[in-house]
C-alpha cells in the first residue's frame, strides 16, 4: 500500500513597513504599508489570493467532490487567518468550504509562525493554544497533528509536543539523519512513546514545488502520469509518501501557465489507477502505519535551503541580535498587560522577519532575494530594529502609566501587587484572558 499524504502550508507574515528611527515614539503602526511595494500586506494578500488561494481552492474542491478517496491537509498560520479576516473574507470562506467536506485536515502550529520554541517554551505554548482556539473558532475542528514553523524540529520538540497531547508531528526527511533509510515510513523520536513523526519526502515534494517548471530539469515536463508512476514505485518499500509544500506553489511560485493546476487536477485520477494507492491525512497516516524506526534529531532540522537547518533565520549576527532583543522583552511585554503591545510583539516573532535579514545567498540573487520584499537584508534589519526601539518606548510608557494610576492607592495594596507580578501563574492567566478577548474582538470585525 502506498498512501499519499498532502500537506500544504499557508502563511503570510505581517511585513514591516519602512520604519525609520525618527518614527520611534511617534508612529506605533508597523505593518500598515500602503505603497506599491511588496511590504504592503493587503496588496500581497489580494495578489496571492487571486493567483493561488482562490483558483487552487476551486481545483481542490472539484477533486474532493469527484474523488471520495481524495484528502489533503492544511496548516494555516494565525497571522494568515487574521489577514484573511481583515482583507479577504471571501478567501476564508473558500477554505472553510474545503474543510466542511470532512476530508481536509487542519494542523496546529504557532499562531505567529514563530521560532518561539527556541527561545521561550512559555511563549510557544501560548501561541499553540491561541492557534488551536482560532482553528476551532473558524473551522470547528481541533487538530491532533502539529507542525512547527518551517518544519523546524528536534527530539526535544517532539517530546514537548507529545506532552501537549498531539498524536503526530511533521519533520523534514533530512538525509543526514535518515541515512540510507526511506522517508516513506512512519518514525518516532527516540525519547517519545506515543507521538509519531511523519517525514517529508523532499525529492517528490520538491519535484512539484521547485522543479515543476524548470526546463533544465531532465524530467521536465512533469506529467501527472509520470508522477503517479514514481508514487507507484514506493509500493512494497514504503507506506506513505509525504508531500509537504507551501500552498503558494500553486499559481504563485509555479504560475498557472506552467500547467500546475492541470497537473493537480489530473493527479488523483492517475494515482488512484493503481488499486494499492490511496490518500491519507497526517493523523490518519500516524494512526494507520506502525513506527518502523527512530528519527534521531539532536540538532534542529528544517525544510529551508539546502542546509536544512536554522541558518535561513539565524546565521548572521544581525539576526541573532534582533531575535535576542525581541525575546528579552517578553517579561515586560506580558507584564504590560496591554493587548496592542502584546499583539505587536507577537507579530514581530514571525520567522519571515529574520529570513529577510538573511545574507547567506544575498550576493547570488538566489531564492532569498526572490522572497525578500526589502531591497537588502540590511534594510530589513534597520526597520525591524527601529520598531523594537518603539516597542520598548511603549512598554516604558505603559509602565509609567500604570504606576501613576496606581500610586494614590498604593499604600494598602502594595504587598498584594508585588505578589501578583512576582509569581508567573497569574500573569499567564491574564494573558490567556487577553488573547481570548482579542479573538472575540476580531470576530466582530
Amino acid at each position: 500500500m502506498a498512501s499519499i499524504c498532502f500537506y500544504f502550508q499557508v502563511h503570510q507574515p505581517y511585513r514591516i513597513k519602512k520604519y525609520r528611527i525618527f518614527d520611534v515614539g511617534h508612529d506605533h503602526h508597523y505593518f500598515n504599508d500602503h505603497s506599491d511595494r511588496d511590504i504592503n500586506n493587503e496588496k500581497i494578500l489580494h495578489k496571492v489570493a487571486t493567483k493561488c488561494y482562490l483558483p487552487m481552492n476551486k481545483v481542490l474542491l472539484e477533486l474532493l467532490e469527484k474523488h471520495p478517496e481524495f484528502k489533503v491537509a492544511f496548516s494555516f498560520s494565525g497571522v494568515f487567518l487574521d489577514q484573511l479576516e481583515e482583507f479577504s473574507p471571501e478567501t476564508l470562506a473558500s477554505f472553510q468550504k474545503l474543510v466542511k467536506t470532512g476530508r481536509v485536515e487542519i494542523l496546529d502550529e504557532t499562531y505567529y509562525h514563530s521560532l518561539a520554541f527556541l527561545y521561550s517554551k512559555k511563549e510557544f505554548v501560548r501561541q499553540v493554544e491561541l492557534h488551536r482556539t482560532k482553528v476551532k473558532k473558524l473551522f470547528g475542528v481541533t487538530p491532533s497533528t502539529f507542525r512547527n514553523t518551517e518544519l523546524v524540529y528536534n527530539n526535544e520538540l517532539a517530546k514537548f509536543v507529545e506532552g501537549m497531547g498531539y498524536k503526530a508531528i511533521l519533520a523534514e526527511g533530512a538525509d543526514h539523519i535518515l541515512g540510507w533509510r526511506s522517508p516513506n515510513f512512519v518514525y518516532k523520536a527516540p525519547n517519545t512513546t506515543k507521538i509519531k513523526t511523519l517525514l517529508k519526502n523532499y525529492r517528490l515534494s520538491d519535484d512539484i514545488a521547485f522543479r515543476f517548471s524548470s526546463r533544465s530539469w531532465a524530467e521536465w515536463p512533469l506529467t501527472s502520469e509520470k508522477f503517479a508512476h514514481w508514487v507507484d514505485a514506493v509500493n512494497g518499500n514504503g507506506n506513505v509518501v509525504n508531500l509537504f509544500m507551501d500552498y503558494e506553489t500553486f499559481g504563485e511560485h509555479q504560475w498557472e501557465d506552467t500547467g500546475i493546476f492541470d497537473f493537480m487536477r489530473a493527479l488523483p485520477r492517475e494515482v488512484l489507477k493503481h488499486p494499492d494507492n490511496d490518500f491519507v491525512t497526517p493523523s490518519e497516516a500516524a494512526k494507520r502505519y506502525p513506527v518502523v524506526g527512530e528519527f534521531d534529531a539532536h540538532a534542529f532540522v528544517s525544510w529551508a535551503d539546502i542546509e536544512r537547518d536554522l541558518s535561513a533565520w539565524l546565521s548572521n549576527s544581525m539576526q541573532h541580535e534582533a531575535i535576542g532583543n525581541l525575546y528579552a522583552l517578553e517579561g515586560d511585554v506580558m507584564a504590560s498587560g496591554d493587548p496592542a503591545i502584546i499583539e505587536d510583539w507577537s507579530r514581530l516573532q514571525t520567522s519571515d522577519h529574520f529570513y529577510y535579514m538573511c545574507t547567506k545567498w544575498f550576493a547570488d540573487g538566489d531564492v532569498h532575494k526572490y522572497f525578500n520584499p526589502y531591497d537588502t537584508p540590511y534594510e530589513a534589519f534597520i526597520s525591524y530594529n527601529n520598531v523594537l526601539h518603539d516597542l520598548r518606548f511603549r512598554i516604558e510608557e505603559a509602565k509609567t502609566k500604570k504606576t501613576t494610576v496606581k500610586r494614590p492607592r498604593a499604600t494598602k495594596k502594595k504587598s498584594a501587587e508585588k505578589k501578583m507580578t512576582k509569581s508567573a501563574a497569574p500573569v499567564k492567566k491574564i494573558v490567556k484572558k487577553v488573547s481570548a478577548k482579542k479573538v472575540i474582538v476580531k470576530k466582530k470585525k
Binding site: R20, F22, M318, Q319, H320, A322, Y378, N385, N386
Partner: protein
C-alpha cells in the same frame, strides 16, 4: 598610456587607479610606456617605463573657475604657494593641457606601441595627438566627467575637451555603469562604444598590521563616523555635515571625522560651526598611507555621500580594512557591492537612520563589516586589467 598624476603624487583616485591598472597590465604581459606631463621625483617603478613630457614652466593660475577640483592637488597647491605671482599670469591649466598635447606628439613619434590609452580629459588631447601621429587606436578611460566634478554645472571648456576626446576615441572605458550613463546622456556618444571596467583595489596594501588609532576616543564608548575625500561639491561634504547634525540630535555619542582637503574646506568648516557642531566634527586634513588606513580601521562606519561618484575607491579601501560603508546610490561602487548600505545623497534622514543603526547595533555593524570585506575581495586590479587587455585585443584584431 597618458596620465596626469601617479602615486605618491596623487590627489585622488585617478593616480591610484592608473597605478593599480598599469601594474596589473604589466603582470599580464602588456608592456606600458606611461607618459606624465611633468617630471616628478620618487617615481621608481620597475614594471613600466615612465616618460615625462617635461613641460617647462608649468604654471597654474588659481583664479576663479579655473581652479578645478580634480587638479587642485597638493602638488599644485605647492606651486601656487611657491611660484612668484608674476609667473602665474597668462598661463593656466588649459595652456598646460595644450602643451601636454604638443609634447605628446613628439613622444608618440619616438615610442613603439600598439594602442594608446589616455586617462581622463587632461590627457585626452595628448591621446588625440598621439593617434594623429601614429594612426594607432585610441582608448580613452573616463574616471570622472565634468558633470561629476561640478555636480551638474560643467565648465564649457572642459566639457568640450572631454567631448572631443570621447568622439576621437575608438573605444571608451568608463569606471562604472553610472559614468557610462552620464557619457551616453550628455556627450552624444553611442552606447556600444563604451565598455565598463570597474576599478579594483590592491588588497595586499590594506592587510598589514598597524597600531590602533584613536583608542582614547573609542575607550570612552564614542562611535566614529568617517568621511574621506576631496572637499569639493562632488563629494558632498556638506551633506555629511548635515547628516552629522541629524544623527547627533538622536545620539550625541558619535564623533564625525572629515579627512581631505579641497576648495570647500572652509565652507565645510563654517557649516559645521554654524550648526553648532564644532566639537563633534573633526577635520583631519589630507591623510594618506598608513595614517589613512588607521583612520579607516578606527571608524565604525565610512560614509561617502557623493553627489555623483564615477567609482569611489575610498569605499573599497574602507571595506578592505573591515569597516562597514554607507555610500550614495549615485556612485559606481554601489553597482558592484552587495554588503553595503546605500542611500540617495540628498536623503539626510535615510542616511542618518542608517548611521544611527550601525553605531547602535553591533550585529548590523559586524555583519556589514565581515561580509563587506569578503564582498570586496573580488574587486581586483587583475580583473580590471583582464578586461582592458580584452579590449586591446579586440581593437587590434
Amino acid at each position: 598610456m597618458f596620465g596626469w598624476e601617479f602615486p605618491p603624487h596623487n590627489s585622488g583616485g585617478l593616480g591610484t587607479a592608473c597605478y593599480g591598472l598599469a601594474r596589473s597590465l604589466s603582470s599580464a604581459n602588456v608592456s606600458i610606456t606611461f607618459v606624465l606631463p611633468k617630471k616628478l621625483e620618487g617615481l621608481d617603478h620597475d614594471f613600466l617605463k615612465i616618460i615625462f613630457a617635461n613641460i617647462r614652466n608649468i604654471k597654474f593660475r588659481g583664479v576663479g573657475t579655473l581652479i578645478h577640483p580634480y587638479v587642485t592637488s597638493d602638488l599644485y597647491d605647492e606651486y601656487l604657494r611657491t611660484t612668484p605671482e608674476a609667473e602665474l599670469y597668462g598661463l593656466n591649466l588649459f595652456d598646460e593641457v595644450r602643451r601636454y598635447g604638443l609634447q605628446a606628439r613628439i613622444i608618440a613619434a619616438e615610442e613603439h606601441y600598439d594602442v594608446i590609452h589616455a586617462h581622463d580629459w587632461l590627457s585626452f588631447r595628448a591621446g588625440i595627438e598621439a593617434k594623429r601621429v601614429s594612426g594607432k587606436p585610441l582608448i580613452v578611460h573616463v574616471h570622472a566627467t565634468e558633470f561629476d566634478r561640478t555636480a551638474g554645472h560643467p565648465n564649457q571648456y572642459i566639457y568640450d575637451e572631454e567631448r572631443r576626446g570621447l568622439h576621437a576615441a575608438d573605444c571608451i572605458i568608463t569606471v562604472s555603469q553610472h559614468t557610462k550613463n552620464i557619457i551616453t546622456e550628455h556627450y552624444g556618444v553611442s552606447e556600444n562604444k563604451v565598455m565598463v571596467v570597474h576599478n579594483g583595489i590592491d588588497h595586499a596594501a590594506h592587510h598589514h598590521a598597524l597600531p590602533h588609532a584613536l583608542g582614547h576616543i573609542r575607550a570612552k564608548g564614542k562611535k566614529i563616523v568617517l568621511f574621506v575625500g576631496r572637499l569639493t561639491i562632488q563629494k558632498g561634504p556638506d551633506y555629511f555635515v548635515k547628516v552629522a547634525k541629524r544623527v547627533l540630535e538622536f545620539n550625541p555619542n558619535v564623533l564625525f571625522i572629515i579627512s581631505g582637503s579641497g576648495d570647500m574646506e572652509y565652507q565645510t568648516i563654517r557649516l559645521a560651526a554654524d550648526l553648532g557642531l564644532g566639537d563633534k566634527i573633526v577635520f583631519a586634513g589630507f591623510v594618506r598611507g598608513d595614517e589613512l588606513l588607521k583612520l579607516y580601521r578606527a571608524a565604525d562606519l565610512f560614509v561617502m555621500p557623493s553627489v555623483s561618484e564615477p567609482f569611489g575607491l575610498t569605499a573599497l579601501e574602507a571595506l578592505a580594512n573591515g569597516t562597514p560603508i554607507l555610500v550614495s546610490k549615485q556612485s559606481g561602487v554601489s553597482e558592484v557591492l552587495t554588503h553595503a548600505l546605500k542611500s540617495d545623497f540628498w536623503d539626510i534622514d535615510d542616511m542618518a537612520d542608517k548611521i544611527l543603526n550601525v553605531v547602535q547595533s553591533k550585529g548590523l555593524h559586524d555583519t556589514l563589516g565581515e561580509l563587506g570585506s569578503k564582498d570586496v575581495e573580488h574587486m581586483t586590479w587583475e580583473s580590471a586589467a583582464g578586461k582592458c587587455t580584452e579590449i586591446y585585443r579586440k581593437l587590434l584584431a
